[in-house]
């Protein structure tokens, strides 16, 4: 192998319109106002975030809405050092599972706000159990990335 064989260059471009539905609508409205909204399952009493239409475990409609804490603990993290189509940020960036205070599931988002160029320095700052706090974009569009990242305290 190693020889450059001829290829047919081709792109598929397809437009989609995904229905947002009432629950994501309200969640995204919350983001626009700088709030992270979850809701509570009336059966198992868990607070899930982002808010969902039904509890995946109990299969019942979710109940009361609540604004959840913008602070929490890093459960685990991984630092991406490569570029790929659809990435949420320029590399390097950190994807993390974060347990927001008083919620019952892990929230997947970015951790950042400091120099990520040295992995050893990163490791000393971002540990399992490290406290983090949401940092918001200046312009909020009602989108998951309205939260820029979670910054270690």
């Amino acid at each position: 192998m190693g020889k450059n064989f001829e290829t047919l260059e081709h792109q598929v471009w397809l437009p989609y319109k995904f229905s947002v539905g009432p629950v994501f609508n309200r969640f995204f409205e919350g983001l626009k106002e700088g709030k992270i909204l979850g809701n509570r399952c009336p059966k198992c009493n868990k607070v899930l975030v982002p808010a969902r239409s039904f509890c995946p475990e109990c299969f019942v409609d979710m109940g009361d809405w609540e604004e959840v804490s913008q602070e929490g603990e890093v459960v685990t993290w991984a630092q991406a050092n490569y570029e790929f189509f659809g990435a949420p940020a320029e590399p390097p960036f950190i994807g993390a599972l974060i347990r927001l205070d008083h919620t019952d599931c892990n929230f997947l988002h970015l951790v950042g706000g400091f120099d990520l160029s040295d992995i050893d320095a990163v490791k000393s700052k971002v540990k399992s159990g490290a406290r983090v706090k949401a940092v918001w974009s200046d312009v909020k569009k009602g989108h998951m990335l309205d939260i820029k990242f979670f910054e270690p305290e």
């Binding site: 192998m1 598929v12 991984a78 050092n81 998951m144």
Partner: protein
């Protein structure tokens, strides 16, 4: 329980960069290879099962139409499955169920991928919706690194220990691949080469991660009656298991990983296996990342949770160890995704029938094949043996 099912043939293309031929010709190469191995032809086949990873990878939505002739599927029922990494095991189980049910006597199962034609990481971004998860679990290195780190943090494993174990897996498999004539990446590496290679997604480094490969694999499943008539030395399906998980990533535990544990348990129960490390002779684990292979040893009951690194460094899972894992070099060296799970079944069948050539494990009688897929969402297992 259905009727007994045999594997009467397994074939693979040469895997690697196969840009010199079209995709249908690559599939045909795999199909010809399994027909030659089984000593049967298209007229003997009652039904065809085919799949790839999500079709956005192929750029052609209806692959079973595109490959109808290459699969010699014209005039036959054809079923398709795509579950990302576990596609190959979904295909194998579909073929198995079809014969076990008595609705077919001989089924051709084929999986393929031509990863140099598309963008695998971009395809994987389309595995999740664009409201939430797409931004954060995009790309295989991200999701598997997060899961690996979760495992490391859970047991408070030292970075040095885990990195050594991962490096040993990488060194061993890239060396094992030299004895597998169809493997993609074959490389003499040192522990330091692996440990000092570029970080792709921390904690995973370049040599912890599988390549993009082009390739196809075919396996033929047959009823007991047909198998005994045609095949001198078939492999028998002893047990199968498959388990899926939730959509919202990490709603369930990804370390004490229910779908992996349950898939293995179902297969062990059916095969009558109570002590896998003692009873199994060889395992082909879906190992696109070194750390993920370690995690799977624990989920499959090969060792206690948190102990895989120590045992790996003792050589328990090496080719000359107590339970050789991925003597073919595994997914780490060869990953045409839609074929990779089926290659695990083919390799396990080759091992228990003494047809694995230079990477044969001596006297292997009971083999374990596994694949995982989705965004860490699916696990499937097939156990094959030399005796009915």
């Amino acid at each position: 329980m259905g009727r007994p099912v045999a594997i009467i043939g397994a074939g693979q293309t040469k895997h690697g960069n196969r840009s010199e031929i079209t995709y249908p010709d690559l599939v045909r190469e795999g199909v010809k290879s399994v027909f030659e191995d089984a000593g049967v032809g298209p007229d003997d086949i009652d039904g065809v099962v085919f799949g790839t990873m999500p079709s956005m990878m192929e750029g052609v939505a209806l692959t079973h139409f595109y490959f109808a002739d290459a699969l010699q599927a014209v005039g036959k029922p054809i079923l398709k499955s795509e579950t990302c990494g576990s596609t190959g095991m979904s295909l194998a189980l579909t073929g198995y169920y079809w014969v076990a049910s008595g609705m077919a006597d001989m089924v051709l199962v084929v999986g393929s991928e031509k990863m140099h034609e598309g963008d695998s990481q971009a395809t994987m971004t389309t595995v999740a919706e664009p409201f939430y998860l797409r931004y954060f679990i995009a790309g295989a290195p991200g999701i598997f690194s997060l899961q690996s780190k979760l495992w490391i943090d859970r047991y408070g494993l030292s970075e040095e220990l885990v990195r050594d174990a991962a490096a040993k897996i990488s060194v061993d498999h890239h060396n094992d691949a030299f004895d597998n004539p169809v493997a993609h990446i074959k490389k003499k590496l040192t522990m330091d080469d692996v440990k000092n290679s570029k970080v792709v997604v921390y904690p995973s480094r370049l040599w912890d991660i599988c390549p993009n490969s082009d390739g196809a694999c075919g396996v033929i499943f047959a009823s007991e009656e047909k198998a005994k008539k045609i095949c001198r030395n078939p492999a028998w399906v002893k047990g199968v298991g498959y388990s899926g998980e939730e959509y919202w990533f990490d709603d369930s535990d990804k370390v004490v990983w229910k779908s992996a544990i349950n898939a293995a348990k179902q297969a062990y129960k059916m095969a009558g296996i109570t002590n896998p490390i003692e009873e199994l002779d060889v395992a082909e684990i879906y190992n696109p990342f070194t750390y993920v292979e370690l995690l799977h040893y624990e989920c499959f009951g090969f060792c206690d949770f948190g102990k895989a690194s120590d045992l790996t460094l003792k050589g328990i899972f090496a080719r000359d160890g107590k339970l050789p894992c991925d003597p073919s070099g595994g997914v780490l060296c060869t990953n045409p995704i839609g074929a990779s799970g089926l290659i695990r079944v083919a390799e396990a069948a080759m091992q228990v029938t003494g047809k694995a050539g230079d990477h044969q494990i001596e006297d292997a009688k009971l083999g374990f094949a596994h694949a995982m897929g989705g965004a860490s969402q699916f696990n499937g297992v097939m156990i094959v043996g030399s005796e009915l």
